[in-house]
C-alpha cells in the first residue's frame, strides 16, 4: 500500500452548490472520495444528499463549482458519458427485459463484443448470487433479488465509482441487515468506490469507511464512523448519530483540553473540548452517550457525575435502560450493563450518574429542546 493509493481520489467535489430558485439544495460541498472507499452521505430527507449524488451521476448540473471524476472536470458532461453508475432507490430495472438483458444493458450500450458480454454478465450474476435467475423477468424476483440485479447491472460496467441512492430503503428490516453485509462483501470483491446515500445512521455506521453528515444543504462533518460518533462537530451531528444526552450549560473556566461547565441544572462538570476555542461565558452543551454513563449511589469524583431521580428502569437483555429526571426537568438516558448488580437502584430513588474523564464532550450552543435527544427515530421507524 503506497501513499499514492490512499491519496488517489476518484471523485472530487470542488465547492459545488445547487440552487432551485431561492431554495438552496446543496451549499458549498467540498470533499473527495478515495478509490475503493465506502463513503456514505447521511442526513434527514431534504438535506441535499440525493441532489449531491445526482450531480455526481450527471442527472443534475451544479449551479456553481466543479465535479471531478478521475481528475477530469465532468460538470457539463451528460450521464451516459460519465464512468459512474447508479443503483436507483426503486432499482429502476427494465421490466420488459430478463435479468440477463438488464445486466447486459450497459455493456451493449458500449457495443462490446456479445461473447465477452455473456461471460462478464454471468460472472457478475455469480458475484451477486443470481446466476440461476438470468432468464427471469425482474417482476418474478423478490425485493432483495431485484436489489442485487440492480447492483450487478451497475457493477458489470466496472465504473470508477458506484452511486447508491437509498438502496436498502425498500427492503424489510431482516433483508436490509443481510444486504448490508452483502453490499460490503461485494464492494470488497470488486474494489470499486461505493458512494452511498442514506437517512439511516445505523446503516451508515455499519457499512462506511467515511461518512459525510449533511443537514439543510450543508456538509456538517466528514469523518470515520468512530470520529463522528465520538467527536461530533455540532449538536445536529451529535443528535443525529446514535443517542446522545445533551445538557445545556455555560463555560466557567478552561483547563487545558478540558473545560469546566456549569450546567443549567446547577451542577458543575468537566468535559473534553478537543481544543475547540471556547471562552468563559459561552453557551455550550455537554454531550454524554447513554452507554458511557454508569449509575452509582453518589457522585464520587468532583465534576464527573450528576444526580437525579430515577423514573424508569427498563430491562433490555444485555443492557438496562435508565431514565433519570434531573432537577430542572431534563430527562437523561443511561444504558447500563444489566449484569452489574444495582442493589440500591429502583424507580423513585435518587441516584447519581457518573462517567470517566474522556466521556463528556463539549459542543457549541444549546439544543432546541433542552435536554436529551435520545431517540433514534429511524430505528423506531424501521422496526414499525
Amino acid at each position: 500500500m503506497g501513499e499514492s493509493a490512499i491519496t488517489k481520489n476518484v471523485i472530487e467535489l470542488d465547492h459545488i452548490s445547487k440552487t432551485y430558485g431561492d431554495f438552496v439544495a446543496v451549499h458549498d460541498a467540498n470533499f473527495s472520495i478515495a478509490t475503493g472507499e465506502f463513503f456514505a452521505m447521511l442526513g434527514p430527507s431534504g438535506c441535499g444528499k440525493t441532489t449531491t449524488l445526482k450531480m455526481i451521476a450527471g442527472f443534475e448540473q451544479p449551479t456553481s463549482g466543479r465535479v471531478m471524476l478521475d481528475g477530469v472536470d465532468v460538470s457539463s458532461i451528460p450521464p451516459y458519458k460519465r464512468n459512474v453508475n447508479t443503483v436507483f432507490q426503486q432499482y429502476a430495472l427494465f421490466p420488459h427485459m430478463t435479468v440477463f438483458d438488464n445486466v447486459a444493458f450497459g455493456p451493449r450500450s458500449k457495443k462490446i463484443d456479445e461473447k465477452k458480454i455473456k461471460t462478464s454478465v454471468m460472472e457478475m450474476l455469480e458475484i451477486v448470487r443470481l446466476a440461476e435467475f438470468a432468464n427471469r423477468k425482474p417482476t418474478q424476483l423478490s425485493g432483495g433479488q431485484q436489489q442485487r440485479v440492480a447492483l450487478a447491472r451497475a457493477l458489470v460496467n466496472y465504473p470508477s465509482a458506484l452511486l447508491l441512492d437509498e438502496p436498502l430503503a425498500a427492503l424489510d428490516l431482516k433483508l436490509r441487515e443481510a444486504m448490508q453485509i452483502e453490499l460490503k462483501r461485494i464492494q470488497r470483491e470488486v474494489g470499486i468506490s461505493f458512494i452511498f446515500v442514506t437517512h439511516d445512521q445505523g446503516e451508515a455506521l455499519t457499512m462506511s469507511d467515511r461518512i459525510a453528515v449533511m443537514s439543510q444543504g450543508h456538509v456538517e462533518q466528514i469523518g470515520t464512523p468512530e470520529e463522528i460518533y465520538r467527536t461530533p462537530s455540532s449538536l445536529f451531528v451529535a443528535g443525529f448519530i446514535g443517542s446522545a444526552n445533551l445538557l445545556p450549560g455555560i463555560v466557567q473556566s478552561r483547563d487545558g483540553d478540558d473545560v469546566v461547565v456549569k450546567l443549567r441544572v446547577g451542577t458543575t462538570v468537566r468535559a473534553s473540548a478537543k481544543g475547540a476555542p471556547f471562552s468563559v461565558g459561552d453557551k455550550v452543551s455537554v454531550m454524554l452517550r447513554p452507554e458511557r454513563i454508569k449509575p452509582a449511589a453518589t457522585v464520587e469524583v468532583e465534576g464527573r457525575g450528576i444526580e437525579g431521580l430515577l423514573t424508569d428502569l427498563v430491562f433490555q437483555g444485555a443492557t438496562a435502560r435508565l431514565i433519570v429526571r434531573l432537577d430542572d426537568g431534563t430527562e437523561m438516558t443511561c444504558l447500563a450493563d444489566s449484569s452489574a448488580s444495582m442493589p440500591q437502584i429502583a424507580p423513585g430513588k435518587r441516584i447519581a450518574m457518573t462517567w470517566e474523564s474522556e466521556c463528556g464532550f463539549v459542543l457549541a450552543g444549546w439544543p432546541d429542546k433542552a435536554g436529551a435527544t435520545t431517540t433514534d427515530i429511524d430505528h423506531i421507524e424501521s422496526t414499525l
Binding site: 451521476a57 458519458k81 447508479t86 436507483f88 426503486q90 427494465f94 420488459h96 444493458f105 450500450s109
Partner: protein, 356 residues
Amino acid sequence: MTTGVSVSKRIGTNADRVGLGAMLVAALCLVALGAKWVSGAASSLVLLLLLLVLIGVLVLALRGGPEARRLLAPYGLLKPGMLWLALFFLAPVWSLLRISLSTKPSRFSVDYNFTWAFQNYSNAFKDFGTQFQHAFVYAAIATVLTVLIGYPLAYVIAFRGGKYKNILLGMVIIPFFTSYLIRTIAWSTILADRGFVVRAFDKVGLVQALEWMHIMDNGKLLNTPAAVIGGLTYNFLPFMLLPIYVSLEKIDTNLVNAAGDLYSSATRAFRKVVLPLSIPGVFAGTLLTFIPAAGDFVNAQFLGNPNTTMIGNSIQDQFLKQNNYPVASAMSAVLMFSIASLVLIYTKIFGTEDLA
C-alpha cells in the same frame, strides 16, 4: 316439509350452477325474442319463461341465505351486461347472418325467404371488391398516419408536458366534443377548391409536387383519396393518442435515467426502453383506430368522390337506398369477419401479453 328444506338446501349449495343456468336461459330467451325465432303466442310464452327465471333467481337469492347469495353474486353482476349483449348484439347478428343468406321473393317485397342464398356473398365480393379494398387500404394508411402524428404528440405531453399536461390533453380532446359529422363537414370547407389551403398551396407552387405525390388531383384537394384518408386520420387521432399517452405516462422516468446512466444516448434509451414499454398503447391505439375506420362511411361521403367510396358507404347505400337487405347483410358480415380475422392475425404477430 323436510324434503322441501333439503331441496332448498341443495339448491342453495349449488347456487352458482343455478345462477349460470338462469343467466344462459334468460339470454337465450332474449335472443329468441330479438331474432324472431318465435312469434305470436309462443313469444308470450318465452317472455313468461324469461320473467319466471329472473324472479326465480331473485327468490333464491333472497331466501337462500348468505352462502347462496355469495355464489349467485357474480352471475347477478354479469347478468345486465350479458342480457344487453344478447338482445342488442347476438340477436341482431343472428338476424344479419340470416338475412345475408335470404332472398327477396319480389323486388318490392318487405319479407325475405331464408334460402341459403350464398350468391349474396359472391355478389358482394364481385360488385364491391374495390370498396372493400378502399376500406382496408384507407383505414390502414390512416392508422399508420395516426401513429406517426399521435406518438410524438403523446410523448411530448407525457414527458415534457409538466404542469401543462392536462391543458395539452384537453386541447387535443376538446375539438372532439363537437359532432363527428360537423367536424368532417368543416374539413370539406377547409379543403374546398377555393379554400385557403388550396390557394396557399397554389401560391407557394406546391400544387405540382402534391399532384405528383397523388395528394392533389387536377388542382383539387377535396374529393380525393388523400382527403378521405386525411379526414379519417383527423377523426381517429384521439383514439390513437390516448392509449399511447396512458402507456407512456406510466413509464417511470428513472428507467430513462437508468438507461442514460448505463451509457445509452437518448436515442438508444428511447429505442430500447421507452418504445418497447409503450408498444401496448400503440397496439390498443391501432385497434381502436383501424376497426372503426375500416367501417367508416362519413369521411368518404363528405371528403371523397364516387371513386373513393369505402365499403361503409356501399353498405349504407344498399341498406337505405337500394333496400337490398340480403346483399347489404352479406357485405356487413364479410366486413365483420375480415376485420375480426385481420385483428386476430395482428394480435398473433404483435401480441403483447409478454409486456405486462
